[in-house]
């Protein structure tokens, strides 16, 4: 039963991600990537990670992808045509195939791969908000603070970059 759920989400994720990189219409690309995000959220739920799954939907599908959609609509981008750089496609596929080797080696080298995780997980409350919150504000306090500062920098940076008339790039 669980395997069927896994296969369903995995096939949806892989099929939509492949369709995404082949799709010429940017709006469809965004929608396909949202499909990938949502099926990954489903996999997170199967791994007892409720909080991460819902954060995936709220932040990724609900905020980040809306930003993409927004920019594509604003710039009114149409379909992509053939590029200046002729050998890009074959070269890209070749490089990706080369990248396949180390990634495959890494997956294969993991010794505990065949074992299944313990059925009861990490005990009661695994992956729930209380546990994650406690860790975030004790053990991982410094990374969280740094991430907060990073977000602030990103906000200020985005505003400064897109302000009209104040930034002059090569004019």
């Amino acid at each position: 039963m669980e395997l069927y759920f896994f296969l369903f989400f995995a096939i949806v994720a892989v099929a939509s991600s492949v369709a995404m990189i082949l799709q010429r219409n940017p709006i469809y690309c965004v929608l396909l990537l949202i499909m990938v995000m949502i099926s990954i959220a489903g996999l997170y739920l199967m791994l007892d990670a409720q909080f991460v799954a819902i954060i995936q939907i709220v932040v990724y599908a609900g905020a980040i992808m809306v930003l993409f959609l927004f920019v594509i609509m604003l710039l009114n981008l149409s379909r992509e045509e053939g590029g200046v750089f002729r050998i890009q496609k074959p070269l890209a596929v070749l490089l990706a195939a080369l990248l396949f080797l180390p990634v495959a080696a890494m997956v294969m080298s993991y010794a505990g791969g065949g074992t299944t995780p313990p059925a009861d997980g990490g005990g009661a409350g695994f992956g729930e908000v209380e546990q994650i919150g406690t860790l975030l504000f004790t053990k991982y306090l410094l990374p969280v603070e740094i991430a907060a500062v990073l977000l602030l920098i990103a906000i200020v940076g985005a505003v400064v970059l897109t302000r009209k008339g104040t930034v002059s790039v090569g004019e």
Partner: protein, 100 residues
């Protein structure tokens, strides 16, 4: 339960598809989306390992990766808008001049 290898293979596949997307596409926005896909692939293995070892720390990393991805997208899309405003294109191969 499903063996953790299944999740690892899936996350590797998603990572590679994302990487291919980054290399194969010319539209800067789609390239950014390919990077998001790669991050998602990595996140999946974090969560799978968190379940395997019964440690929530993996979830924290996913949390931080999502935060960084949000920051990256904000800046990346601001740059794309700037690029479009100045050059009238978002295709990365048409932006070849180092200065003008």
């Amino acid at each position: 339960m499903i063996p953790v290898t299944y999740y690892l293979v899936l996350s590797a596949v998603l990572f590679l598809v994302g990487a291919t997307g980054v290399l194969i596409r010319r539209n800067a926005i789609i390239v950014l989306m390919g990077i998001e896909l790669m991050l998602n692939g990595a996140n999946l293995s974090f969560v799978a390992f968190a379940r395997q070892f019964g440690m929530v720390d993996g979830h924290i990393y996913v949390f931080l990766v999502i935060t960084v991805a949000a920051a990256e997208v904000a800046i990346g899309l601001a740059l794309v808008i700037l690029l479009f405003r100045n050059r009238g294109t978002v295709n990365i191969d048409e932006v070849r001049s180092l200065r003008w």
